[in-house]
Amino acid sequence: MVTWTLVFEQLLNGVQFGVLLFLLAAGLTLIFGIMDLMNLAHGSLYMLGAYIAATVTHWTDSFLIGLVAALPATLVIGIVVEVLVLRALYRRGHLDQVLATFGLILFFNESVRLIWGPAGIQVPLPDFLNGSVDLFGVPYPMYRVTVIVAGLAVAGFLYWLVVKTRLGMLIRAGASNREMVAALGIDIKLVFTLVFGLGAALAGLAGALVGPIRSVGIGMGENVLILTLVVIVIGGIGSIRGAFVGALLIGVIEILGRAFLSTLFELVLPSNAAETAGPAVASMLIYILMAGVLFFRPQGLFPARTG
């Protein structure tokens, strides 16, 4: 029952999922690699982006305005969090960072519940994004195509930003030697704050984009956070290129595993065992992949120093 069009469609699904993960991973890997900050609360910014976009969409009846509003809002929230809490953590060990940002997760989750209630919000799709398009004979949801395009555009923008602009140069320089950059009269603190804000806005964008597909709810950040961490660790911390490759890899493997693993197992196992083993292994697949990658390449696929 496995046809090539089905495989193609699943690959598209994988890419779409991967692109979404990339939006989250890009910000996290920059923050991680450049400021050496382990930020578990990255998922909370994703959640806040989704909530803000959903709320504005309902106010204005326009998904686009909601999407656009989420960006500056999460940027500002990111900057506030950075200045108030995280700035004090840069020189601390990862453990302190884990603990403090875990505290942030609890705070944000319960604050969202206080403000928006426990039920979550649904975001209606605008009509022009609601249909499906024909991609090589596969009818594919228009909105998912939009997500893929938007994600690739952001990837291009980030590449340009980091490689071609002065801010990008400062980001790279700040990461390799922050004292030197500061000695040159550059406000490295400001650069860090800006990078954090940028990462927050990317997470917010991912959250806003995901609203119309999945539902917006409390705890959506933690589920995706772990996947994002897996992505950047596989890719190599601090490497945007690694985040991109890692995100697509995880996206495609996750989807293909879910789609075809049971069928695959049925070829070699009795159907009863295959039925149990299929979903079990599918849910462990990316973790197996990660353990495997780290076992052979303890610094990830694209260690930041050489990439």
Binding site: M1, T3, T5, L6, E9, Q10, N13, Q16, F17, H58, N109, E110, R113, G117, P118, A119, G120, I121, Q122, V123, P124, L125, N130, S132, P139, P141, Y143, R144, P212, I213, R214, S215, G217, I218, G219, M220, N223, I226, L227, I255, L256, R258, A259, S262, E275, G278, P279, A280, A282, S283
Partner: protein, 398 residues
């Protein structure tokens, strides 16, 4: 002298008074364990509000004794639920423990209540273990056993001539219960089955692509809580709306307002099975739904209806004991008779103290005010008993 006499009389009266009324408890304490925090808190809120309505209807008293309900949040974690139950039983010293949305939480908390010799009135979790092997004389359910609802759906599918069905459900105990329940009665072919990662997975693109490729006569889903909304929206975005969608425990008064908010019209006209619906035509249900809507401006869900029944069942027990909460046998005997105003009308208890009751096919419709709700279409099962009752060692003596 006179003063002394008054003193003595009052003292005697004070001494005598507690003895004279010793039988009657000062307070009926009910511990109610549900989920109040996080996303699933929406279920707990509905249950709590329904308990409030029940208390309103009782005037805050059972057999003339004031009632106190203590709510605890299990955070969907078995360990926390267990801990809270310990607190209710061993610190607050409640007389009844009720609530429980999740099977794994009630399984963890069960022994604490039973060992303390208290009653456990389960308002939702329909785990096969407690209906079967783990049944106990002090455990009652005012809900159902998991398998019953999908079994009813299997009958519906047979009647509607569904030959091939695609099944999608989360890969956890209740999800597997639902699929097993369906397989007990559904006679057609299962064209494909996907058990998705729980609770992380809210993207169903892979499963939907497979389902579409399999070209089934229908798709069956079980997704409690926020996952339902995500699934149905992706279902319609994937252009699957021409394939009929059948669901259990997914589309209810909690998910429908959210789906309406997003204008997910694909859900209108879909079918699901349940023992109750807000339009249920019994006196108690009409009153419960009307008062709930008046107070909280929305429809109650089946979670709420079951919680309302839990309180009413407890009230009947306290009445039977005349407010003397030490009369366990009298209370148990009354509860076994299911002699209380239930939202589902008259029903009986099986040997495992789970309801033997009717199940209905419900359709998602717009009500007179344009709000989306469910409407009973037809009765599927009459006086249906769950298949695990025979594994319960208790004998029906009532």
């Amino acid at each position: 002298m006179r003063k002394a006499a008054i003193c003595m009389v009052s003292a005697l009266a004070l001494l005598a008074a507690p003895q004279a009324f010793a039988a009657k408890a000062e307070k009926v304490k009910i511990g109610f364990v549900t989920t109040l925090s996080g996303g699933p808190g929406v279920i707990g809120k509905d249950m709590r509000q329904s308990v409030e309505i029940a208390l309103d209807h009782l005037g805050g008293k059972m057999a003339g004794v004031p009632v106190e309900v203590i709510f605890e949040d299990d955070q969907v974690k078995p360990e926390v639920g267990k801990q809270k139950t310990e607190k209710l039983v061993h610190k607050d010293k409640v007389d009844f423990v009720s609530g429980f949305i999740w099977s794994h939480v009630v399984l963890a908390a069960r022994k604490t209540v039973v060992d303390a010799g208290k009653f456990l009135i389960i308002s939702n979790a329909g785990t096969s273990q407690i209906a079967g092997r783990l049944c106990h004389e002090n455990i009652f359910s005012t809900a159902w056993q998991n398998d019953q609802v999908p079994m009813a759906m299997g009958e519906v599918l047979n009647k509607r001539g569904v030959k091939s069905l695609y099944v999608v459900a989360p890969n956890y105990a209740a999800g597997r219960d639902m699929v097993n329940g369906l397989s007990r009665t559904f006679k057609g072919k299962i064209a494909g089955k996907d058990m998705t990662k729980w609770p992380d997975q809210t993207d169903f693109s892979a499963e939907l692509a497979k389902a579409r490729a399999a070209k089934p006569d229908g798709v069956f889903i079980f997704y409690p809580g926020a996952h339902t909304n995500a699934f149905i929206r992706q279902y319609s975005q994937a252009g699957m709306t021409r394939t009929p969608l059948y669901s259990v425990f997914s589309i209810d008064s909690l998910s429908l307002p959210r789906l309406q908010e997003a204008n997910t019209t694909a859900v209108l006209g879909t079918y699901n099975t349940q023992f109750w619906s807000p339009d249920m035509d019994t006196e108690t249900s009409r009153k419960f739904v009307a008062d709930y809507k008046k107070k909280f401006k929305s429809y109650p869900s089946h979670y709420g209806a079951q919680s309302y029944d839990s309180i009413m069942l407890i009230a009947s027990a306290v009445e039977a004991a005349g407010g003397d909460l030490s009369k366990m046998d009298a209370m148990r005997d009354r509860m076994r008779k299911a002699d209380f105003p239930s939202v589902r009308g008259k029903f009986t208890y099986g040997n495992n103290q789970f309801p033997i009751q009717d199940f209905f096919l419900r359709e998602v419709v717009k009500d007179a005010d344009g709000n989306w709700t469910t409407k009973i279409v037809q009765k599927i099962y009459e006086k249906h008993q769950d298949p695990f009752a025979e594994k319960c060692k208790m004998k029906k003596t009532w």
